[in-house]
C-alpha cells in the first residue's frame, strides 16, 4: 500500500500524521503516540508521550509503569493540533479501545484499531463513523468466521462448568488476560460458584474496577489451598499459563479456551483443549463488512490478518480497497497468542 494522503502516511514506524506530528500505535519509539487500546502489540514502549481514551488510562499506566507521560481524551472530545482535529471514539474491542478520527479541511480519516460490533458488558459499544478513508483491521476477514450469539456461548460455558463441578473437576478457562477475561467474568456473574483468577488476569481486573467497571468478586488462585474449593471453581487464566507446571495444582481438571480461533476445529484439536468456546473481541466477517459499509468511506485500507482477502472481496463489490503491510511482518494466519 501506500496510503499517503493529506492526513496520514505509512512510515517504517507505522501510520503517521505529519500535520499533527503523531503516530497511531507506532512500532518504534517515537515522540508522540496515539494508542487505540492497551493490548501489548499496540503499545510500543519508549515513546515520549502517549495519548489514549480516558477509559484506557489505567490499563496503559499498568502496562507502561509510572513516570510516563499519558494524556487522555473522553470519547468524542476533540483535540486540535495545527490544522487537524483529533478525536477518539468507542471501538467496542476492550475497555478504553478507540477508533482514531482525524479531520482536516473537511476530509476525514478513521483508523479503527481492533473492534467488534457485538455486545460486551465491560466496554462502550462500537460507534460507526462516517469518513472518507477507513483503515480497518481484518483479523477474522474470511467468511468462515461467524460468531455465535454471546448469550449462547456464555450458556455453554456455564453448563461446561456445572458438568465439571458435578464430577469434581476444576474448570480452567484460558482467555486473554486483558479484555476477554473480564468480558467472560462479567457475563457469567458469580452466582454459579467460586471464580478464581491467574495473577495476570487479577492485575487487569484491578484496572477495570478502578475505571468503574463492575466485575464479580474474584480471588487470586495462588491464595487458595482448599482442594474442595478448587474442584468447584472456574479458573480464568491467560493462554500462556497452559503448561504442566502451572496446571499441576489442579489434579482433576477440564481445560477450555475462549477465542474466535476456536471456530476452526483444527485449532481446537491443536491446542488439545477439552472445549473451545467461540468468543472473540474482534468482529466476525459479517461485522467487518457491516462496519466498513457503514462508514461509506471512499477508500478502505485493510490491516492485520486476512487483509488481502478482505480487500479483494471489497474490490469485487465495487469498492476501492487496499492493504497496509502486515505490522508483524510475517502474515501469521493462525491461532497466535496475539489478541
Amino acid at each position: 500500500m501506500s496510503v499517503t494522503n493529506a492526513i496520514i502516511a505509512t512510515t517504517p514506524a507505522g501510520l503517521y500524521c505529519r500535520e499533527g506530528d503523531f503516530y497511531i500505535d507506532p512500532r518504534l519509539p517515537v515522540e508522540r503516540a496515539v494508542i487505540t487500546h492497551a493490548h501489548a502489540d499496540h503499545v510500543r514502549w519508549g515513546c515520549q508521550s502517549y495519548l489514549c481514551a480516558r477509559d484506557s488510562r489505567s490499563l496503559l499506566r499498568a502496562r507502561l509503569g509510572p513516570g510516563k507521560r499519558i494524556q487522555d481524551l473522553a470519547y468524542g472530545e476533540t483535540l486540535r493540533i495545527n490544522s487537524v482535529e483529533l478525536s477518539l471514539h468507542p471501538a467496542g474491542h476492550i475497555l478504553g479501545s478507540a477508533q482514531v478520527r482525524i479531520e482536516r479541511d473537511g476530509q476525514v480519516v478513521v483508523i479503527s484499531g481492533d473492534y467488534k460490533d457485538g455486545p460486551d458488558p465491560t466496554c462502550a459499544p462500537l460507534a460507526p463513523l462516517r469518513c472518507d478513508t477507513f483503515v480497518s483491521e481484518s483479523t477474522f476477514g474470511l467468511p468462515i468466521f461467524k460468531w455465535p450469539r454471546q448469550e449462547d456461548v456464555l450458556r455453554d460455558i456455564r453448563s461446561w462448568w456445572q458438568a465439571n463441578r458435578a464430577e469434581g473437576r476444576t474448570s480452567i478457562l484460558f482467555a486473554y488476560a486483558l479484555g476477554k477475561a473480564q468480558r467472560v467474568l462479567a457475563g457469567l456473574g458469580s452466582a454459579l460458584g467460586p471464580v478464581l483468577t491467574h495473577g495476570a488476569v487479577e492485575k487487569i481486573n484491578q484496572c477495570y474496577r478502578e475505571t468503574g467497571i463492575s466485575l464479580p468478586d474474584t480471588r487470586h488462585v495462588g491464595e487458595v489451598n482448599n482442594l474442595a474449593l478448587l474442584k468447584e471453581a472456574l479458573v480464568i487464566a491467560p493462554p500462556s499459563a497452559d503448561h504442566p507446571a502451572w496446571l499441576k495444582r489442579f489434579p482433576q481438571r477440564s481445560r477450555a479456551f475462549a477465542s474466535g480461533w476456536m471456530r476452526i476445529r483444527g485449532n481446537r484439536r491443536r491446542r488439545a483443549v477439552d472445549r473451545g468456546f467461540v468468543l472473540s473481541d474482534h468482529s466476525d466477517w459479517d461485522g467487518l463488512v457491516r462496519t466498513i459499509l457503514a462508514t461509506r468511506a471512499e477508500t478502505i485500507v485493510l490491516t492485520h490478518g486476512y487483509a488481502a482477502e478482505m480487500a479483494r472481496w471489497l474490490q469485487g463489490a465495487g469498492l476501492q480497497a487496499e492493504t497496509l503491510p502486515n505490522p508483524t511482518g510475517d502474515g501469521n494466519h493462525s491461532a497466535g497468542e496475539s489478541p
Binding site: 474470511l142 467468511p143 468462515i144 461467524k146 476452526i264 476445529r265 483444527g266 482477502e309 511482518g329 510475517d330
Partner: protein
C-alpha cells in the same frame, strides 16, 4: 441424526478414551437398532464412498453461501477440511432435522450415487437446508467420503461390550468381515448366544508390538520362535464349506484379486483358517512391495500382470483347525499343525513361514542385518507357548524391524496441512543435491513436533519464493534427515528413484543446504539394497 451428530461432537471434543466410551455407551442406550448399526459401521471406519466430485460440491456450497470461488478456496486452504469449510460457510441454520440416522443414510445418502448430477445437487441442498451446523458437518463428512472419528475399533468394541454385557472378543469376532447394516445384525451382534456362525467371517488379527528394549532382554532364545517379517499385506485365508475367502487386514474381501492363492486354498480341508502375508513372490523369493501395489489397485487381474507379479501366501499361523477355533492352543502346537497341513498340499502358493534358528541373540542380530537384501523387514519374535490374542498387545509377539535408510535433504516446497495441522505449512517436498541444482525425491508429512512445525511454518512464511496455487517454493536452506523403508528405480520420478514410506527423522539445524546429501547417495543406497 441429532443423536449421532451429538455423539460425534462429544467424541470429537475429548481426548480421553474413557469419555469417548461413555459417549458411545450413552448413544447405544437410546439409539434404535436400525440407527445404532449404522453408527457402529461409521465408527469402525467403514465409511461410505464419496458421492459427488469435490469440485461440484465446492461450487454448490459456494453458491448457496454467496461466496466467490476464490474465497471458498482460500477458506478451504485455511480450514484444511472440505466438509468443515462447507459447514462454516453455509448460511446459519437454527433448527436441526429430527429424521433418524438410518433414514438419512438409506433414503438420502446411499441413493445419491445412482442419481443424475442435478438430482444430487437438489438432494444435497435440501439436506443442508434441513440440518443444523453439527448435523451438516457429519453429513458433509459422509457425502465427501471423509468420515473418520478418532476412535479405535477396540474402543467401539469396549463400548458395545459395556452396553450389552457380551464379552469383548465375541463382539470383535462378530464385527469382522462383511455384514448388512440391519437391525437384525445389531441384535445378533449383541446376542448372548455365542453359537452363531457365518462361513466367511475371519478372526480379529493379533499384531506384534515393536520391540522396546534390547532383544537380549527377552531372555533365553529357546523360549522364542523367530521368523522373518515379510513385507506384503497381512491377510487371512478361510476354507469352509467348500468355499474360499481371502481377507486383507483392512477387512476387505480380496479373494478375486489373488486367484493363485484362492486356487491353492481350495486344496485345504474345510474348517481351516490361516493367518499370513500376501506376498509378491517369484523364484522362491519376494519381489519388492512396490510390485504388489500394482495388483492391489485392481479389481480383477489380467494374464500379463499374473505373470509379471505372481503372489503367494506366506502362512504364519493357523487359527481354525478341523472346524474348531484353534487360537487358544500354544503357538508351537499351531505351527506343527500348520507345517503338516501345508507340506502335503499339491500347490506352491501356500507356504509355511519358516522358523529362523540361531544359538544366541547375537547371531540373530547378524541375520537381521541381512534383512534388506532378503527383501524382508526384519524379524517377528513370538513366545513359543503364546496363544493367539486380539489386537496389538505387549508381551508375547514382538517385531524387530531393521533401521530405516536415511539421507539429509533440503526442504524446497511446502503446502498447508489438514486436520490438526490445518492452516500450518506441514506438507513438505524434499530434494537432494545434483551438481549445483536440487532434485526433488520425496514428500513427507510427519516427524516434527508441534514447536518445530510452528518454527518451520514461520520460516516458510518469511522465505517464500513463488506460489503455485496452494504450493509455495521456499528458499532452500533447511535440512532434514529423511528416513524411508525402501528404495527402487522409478522412471516416473525426476530423481529416478522412488522411496517407500518417507518421513522426517529429525531437523538437522547443524547442517546447511550445501551439506545435504546428493543424488549419488540415493543411487548408492539403491545398489546396496538390491
Amino acid at each position: 441424526m441429532k443423536a449421532f451428530a451429538e455423539l460425534y461432537r462429544r467424541m470429537d471434543e475429548t481426548t480421553s478414551t474413557n469419555r469417548k466410551v461413555d459417549a458411545m455407551v450413552d448413544y447405544f442406550r437410546q439409539a434404535p437398532a436400525e440407527d445404532a448399526i449404522w453408527a457402529i459401521r461409521f465408527l469402525m471406519g467403514r465409511k461410505p464412498r464419496r458421492t459427488v466430485p469435490t469440485r461440484q460440491l465446492m461450487a454448490w456450497a459456494a453458491d448457496l453461501a454467496g461466496v466467490p470461488d476464490w474465497l471458498f478456496e482460500t477458506s478451504y486452504d485455511v480450514v484444511g477440511d472440505l466438509a468443515e469449510t462447507i459447514t462454516l460457510l453455509l448460511p446459519a441454520a437454527e433448527v436441526g432435522s429430527d429424521r433418524p440416522l438410518h433414514v438419512w443414510v438409506q433414503n438420502h445418502l446411499l441413493p445419491l450415487r445412482e442419481k443424475a448430477i442435478e438430482d444430487r445437487e437438489r438432494a444435497i441442498l435440501a439436506a443442508w437446508r434441513q440440518m443444523d451446523e453439527s448435523q451438516r458437518f457429519v453429513w458433509n463428512k459422509l457425502i465427501t467420503g471423509g468420515f473418520r472419528v478418532g476412535v479405535s475399533q477396540r474402543l467401539v468394541v469396549r463400548a458395545l461390550s459395556r452396553f450389552s454385557g457380551v464379552d469383548g472378543p465375541v463382539i470383535a469376532h462378530r464385527l469382522m468381515g462383511e455384514w448388512p447394516p440391519t437391525p437384525d445384525t445389531f441384535r445378533r451382534l449383541l446376542s448372548p448366544d455365542t453359537r452363531d456362525a457365518d462361513i466367511s467371517r475371519p478372526y480379529p488379527f493379533f499384531l506384534a508390538h515393536p520391540l522396546e528394549d534390547d532383544v537380549a532382554a527377552l531372555g533365553s532364545p529357546g523360549d522364542w520362535l523367530v521368523e522373518w517379517k515379510w513385507d506384503g499385506i497381512r491377510g487371512q485365508v478361510i476354507r469352509r464349506e467348500d468355499q474360499v475367502f481371502i481377507w486383507s487386514r483392512g477387512e476387505e474381501l480380496v479373494t478375486r484379486k489373488y486367484p493363485e492363492i484362492a486356487g491353492g486354498a481350495a486344496h485345504l480341508p474345510n474348517g481351516t483358517v490361516l493367518d499370513g502375508e500376501i506376498l509378491p513372490w517369484q523364484a522362491n523369493r519376494p519381489l519388492p512391495f512396490g510390485e504388489l501395489q500394482r495388483r492391489i489397485g485392481r479389481k480383477t487381474t489380467g494374464q500379463k500382470l499374473l505373470k509379471e507379479v505372481p503372489v503367494a501366501f506366506m502362512a504364519y499361523d493357523i487359527l481354525e483347525h478341523e472346524g474348531h477355533d484353534f487360537r487358544n492352543s500354544p503357538l508351537h502346537r499351531r505351527k506343527a499343525v500348520l507345517g503338516a497341513l501345508l507340506v502335503d498340499l499339491p500347490v506352491n502358493h501356500l507356504i509355511a513361514s519358516p522358523e529362523v534358528t540361531a544359538p544366541d541373540w547375537k547371531t540373530f542380530a547378524a541375520l537381521q542385518a541381512q534383512s534388506r537384501r532378503r527383501g524382508v523387514e526384519g524379524f517377528i519374535i513370538k513366545r513359543r507357548d503364546s496363544v493367539y490374542r486380539v489386537g496389538r498387545r505387549r508381551g508375547d509377539w514382538w517385531k524387530w524391524k531393521i533401521d530405516p535408510l536415511t539421507v539429509d535433504a533440503v526442504l524446497i516446497y511446502a503446502q498447508r496441512g489438514h486436520g490438526r495441522r490445518a492452516g500450518l505449512y506441514t506438507d513438505y517436498t524434499f530434494a537432494v543435491r545434483q551438481g549445483d541444482s536440487l532434485v526433488p525425491f520425496a514428500k513427507a508429512y510427519s516427524g516434527l513436533n508441534d514447536a518445530e512445525i510452528r518454527q518451520v511454518d514461520r520460516f516458510i512464511q518469511r522465505h517464500t519464493r513463488e506460489r503455485f496455487g496452494p504450493v509455495r517454493s521456499v528458499q532452500p536452506e533447511l535440512v532434514f534427515e529423511i528416513a524411508f523403508e525402501g528404495i527402487r528405480k522409478s522412471s516416473r520420478h525426476k530423481s529416478g528413484v522412488a522411496v517407500r514410506f518417507p518421513r522426517i527423522l529429525r531437523w538437522r539445524q547443524d547442517k546447511s543446504a550445501a551439506e545435504a546429501d546428493t543424488i549419488e547417495t540415493l543411487h548408492r543406497l539403491l545398489e546396496e539394497t538390491t
